[in-house]
Each structure stands twice: as structure tokens, then as C-alpha cells.
């Protein structure tokens, strides 16, 4: 059958031209390994960056003269805002306890104080979408205008930095992935082009015997996919090895590495990407066949 011939021809060529094919597999492997390493780090940065808004908060300092009922009124008004995810009331005494905890051995600094100088406050966590500098600025301004509010500390710059960091990461990752993917496609293209020229005579013979374009192209496409599959498979093994080396070995010295996550999908995605790049490279290399 034609398909059987295509597979046989592709595997014969893979074996016959083993050195050039191994070189291509190695290049696809290195390209995809670099892509996956970058993706791995970008993914983990993204996970961390996504958690940053959860840690971001606005502190609303309340007027000292507010009665308990007035404090409750302020808290209720804040709770009703659509941008507020959660809030926590911190009384003067709790604030002092907190400071003592933070100062620990240096808590004697507070000994000379005759009364608690701290204000009661409300710590507000915003919904993810509102952690941008403009939104935070507007929210702070609105809260500051509320009666009973003494001051608002918001850290707009931190919000802006988080926002910028996330956006830059996304842009950089797209650029890097595009460059390396193009490189891998180019390598597959070059390999198949070389193989194509080496087999030009054979291709001409096939045409004269009545072979269709599909029949002629099939072995090259299969060859490109196998190169991509093996290159991608090796890259998956490489990233898995790297991940275990980092999380199990290096995390002994740098505990932060324990937090790194390797999405399991990447282990399937890499061979599939390899196949896809191999097919694209082969298809471009063969191009339009004249009858």
C-alpha cells in the first residue's frame, strides 16, 4: 500500500541519512529545551505575579474620636464597595500588639510611651482586576473623602510595578518563543531541503512513474515528524530531568526552588510541538512540486 511504502521509505531515509537526521534531532531538542526552560521559568514567574495582588492591601486609618457605631458604619460602607474583596478591622490595641511582635527584642523602644499612639485601621484587600495604579489611586481618593477616615496608605507604585511586571513577562515570553520556534522550523526546513535535493533524482523518477504530490511528499513529512517527535521527546525528558535536579537537589541550598511547579501538560506538549514544527519545516522545504 502507498502508506506502507511512505513509512518504509521515511524510516529507510532516517537510517540512511542518520548523521544529518541526528543533528537535526539534536537541534530540535536544544531549541525545544530552551523554549521549555524559558516557558518553565515564565510560568513560575506568572504564578508568583498572579499571587502578588492577593498580598496587596490598602490601609485605611480611622479617626481616633470615632465611636464603635461610627467605626461599624465605615466598615459597612467599605464592605459594600464592588472593588473590595475582603477587609479586616485592626483596633489600636491589636496594632500595638502587632508592632511589638514585629519589633520582638527591640520592643523596649515602646516602653517610654504613656499611651498607645497608634490609630485603629481597616486593611482592605482589593479584587485582582483593581490592582492597577490608576484604580488604586481612584479607590484611595474616594475612601479618603469618607467621613471618619483620617488617612489612606495605598502603595500605588507597588500596584503599578506588579501590573508592569506581568505585562512585560507576557510580551517577552511571546517574543522569545516566536524567535526560537522560527529557529526550530528553519532547522527542520534545512534538513528536509538537503534530503530533498539528495533525493531529487528519485523524486523525478517517482513523478514519471505517475506518483501524486501526496505520495512524494508523505515520506518527507513522516521523516520531519519523526525528527520533531524524537527532538521533542528528548526535550521533555530534559526538562523533567532539570526540574527534578532543581527541586530535589538545589532546593536543599535554595529553598525557594521547592515552590517551582512543572505543568505536566508540557511533557505531552513538547513532543506534539516537535511533530508540528517538523511537519511545518518539511512542508515549507518541499514547497510546490511541479508535475
Amino acid at each position: 500500500m502507498a502508506l506502507e511504502y511512505s513509512f518504509r521509505s521515511a524510516f529507510q531515509s532516517l537510517w540512511r541519512e542518520k548523521w544529518i537526521n541526528m543533528l537535526s534531532m539534536f537541534t530540535v531538542f536544544s531549541g525545544l529545551l530552551i523554549i521549555s526552560l524559558i516557558s518553565f521559568f515564565l510560568y513560575n514567574f506568572e504564578v508568583i505575579a498572579n499571587r502578588l495582588p492577593e498580598r496587596f492591601s490598602i490601609i485605611v486609618y480611622l479617626n481616633e474620636k470615632l465611636s464603635g457605631e461610627e467605626i461599624n458604619n465605615v466598615i459597612d460602607t467599605l464592605k459594600k464597595r464592588q472593588d473590595v474583596l475582603s477587609l479586616k478591622y485592626i483596633s489600636k490595641d491589636e496594632a500595638l500588639k502587632e508592632i511589638k511582635k514585629v519589633l520582638r527584642d527591640s520592643s523596649h523602644i515602646l516602653e517610654g510611651l504613656s499611651e498607645n499612639p497608634l490609630s485603629s485601621s481597616v486593611e482592605i484587600k482589593l479584587k485582582k482586576d483593581y490592582v492597577t495604579s490608576s484604580a488604586v489611586r481612584q479607590i484611595s481618593g474616594e475612601i479618603r473623602m469618607m467621613s471618619g477616615v483620617e488617612d489612606v496608605q495605598s502603595g500605588e507604585r507597588i500596584a503599578e510595578a506588579i501590573h508592569l511586571f506581568k505585562r512585560s513577562l507576557q510580551n517577552i515570553s511571546i517574543i522569545i518563543l516566536a524567535i526560537i520556534s522560527s529557529g526550530v522550523i528553519f532547522v527542520s526546513y534545512s534538513t528536509v531541503k538537503i534530503l530533498f535535493f539528495r533525493r531529487k533524482e528519485e523524486i523525478d523518477i517517482l513523478k514519471l512513474l505517475g506518483a501524486t504530490k501526496g505520495f512524494i511528499r508523505a515520506p518527507f513529512i513522516i521523516e520531519g515528524s519523526v525528527i520533531g517527535l524524537i527532538g521533542g521527546g528528548l526535550a521533555a525528558a530534559g526538562i523533567l530531568g532539570f526540574y527534578f535536579a532543581v527541586t530535589y537537589r538545589l532546593s536543599v541550598y535554595i529553598p525557594l526552588f521547592k515552590m517551582l511547579i512543572l505543568p505536566q501538560e508540557i511533557l505531552i506538549l513538547l513532543p506534539l510541538t516537535g511533530i508540528m514544527l517538523g511537519i511545518i519545516g518539511s512542508a515549507i522545504a518541499i514547497g510546490r512540486l511541479k508535475p
Binding site: M1, A2, E4, Y5, Q12, R16, E201, E202, D204, I205, L206, K207, L208, L209, G210, A211, T212, K213, F215, P291
Partner: protein, 220 residues
Amino acid sequence: MIAFQNVSKHYDNNIVLKDISFSVQKAEMAFITGPSGAGKSTILKLMYMEERPDEGDIVIGDFHLASLKASKIPFFRRGIGIVFQDFKLIDNLTVIDNVALSLRIRGVSEKEVKTLAFTALKKVHLRHKADNFPKSLSGGEQQRVVIARAIVAEPFLVLADEPTGNLDSNTALDIMKVFRGINISGTTVIIATHNRELFRYTGKRVLKLDGGNLIGEEVG
């Protein structure tokens, strides 16, 4: 069954065929002869559609080649067996696989492929060389493999371009016997050759070309 109708062909400013018209009947064996550069190979190339005519039309069976769509060319070629002077065998395939290629292209089942390929090799007396590679065969044997490849799918037409050009005279006569056998079985055979010995005393029609013109016909 084969008709050239006022066919002209030129490459840049070089006219290789001028207003050629002739026909070849079904199951006929005909020769095209003439000196080098007369246009013999061009006529064959036009017949297997490696070239298209600049003017006129060529009708082969139901196909009008001047207007045949590119996508139909492979299917048209499957009805033709071609024999080349330079063999055009694939060196890394064995003799049997070279012959089988014509069948695999047509999608014939693998079981049938083997049987048909061995039968074709038997017809050219090369059954015992099935597992050899082309480079290990003599010129005459390689040409017989090419003939086996050309006839294995039972085409209605066999075209041969200087099929004995690289062979000694005894081997050339052996090859001609094979062609006569193919023709006797009902296949149309057209052979382009400058070697008059090949068609002498055959009693077959010979079309004479010179400088791209059909200058006459004779019986060999």
C-alpha cells in the same frame, strides 16, 4: 489512438519541433528516428508530459494533453510505461522494489505487488536477480529491470527513449526482442532511436525526423 496535431515546440529561440502531425494506432509498434537534435526525445517528452506543446494538440487515448490539468498528469502517466537510456533506477532500492514502485504508486496491495513484480521480472528473465541492487547489474540487465518496471502495471503504451544507447549490439538485440514481446501482447510501443539496426527488417513503421521536421516515413 495517439495523434500529434500540428505540434510545435521551442526552447527560447530554438525551434525543436515544427508543425508535426502523425498518428500511431492501438497495439502498433513504431520507431522515431533521426540524427541527434532532430527532436526524437522531445516527441517522447511531450507524450509523457514532461513538456507541453507550444502549439497544436496531442491526443493519447481520451486525454488531450495540451489542455490536461496538472493535477491529472500523474493519473495519465500511470497508463504509460517509460524506458530511459540512462535507466533511471533508484540505487538504494533492490531490483524487485524498483519494479514494485510502479505498483505501489498505484496503491496496489502489498500481496499483489510481490506477485506482479516477480511476474514482470520473469518476462525479462531477471527473476533470479530480484534481491540485487541495480549497481551490481550489467547495463543490459539494468535496462531489462527498467522494462520490467515499465510493463509491470500493464500500461496501454510503452515509450522508450534510446533504450539501447548504452548497450552493446548483442544486448541491444536482446532488448529489442523484449519490446517485440510486449507489443505482441497488445501494448502500443514507440521507440526513439538513432540506431537504424534496431528497426531494420522489423517490418514496423519508422517516422523520420530531421531538424524538428517530420521528413517522411518508411517501413523498417
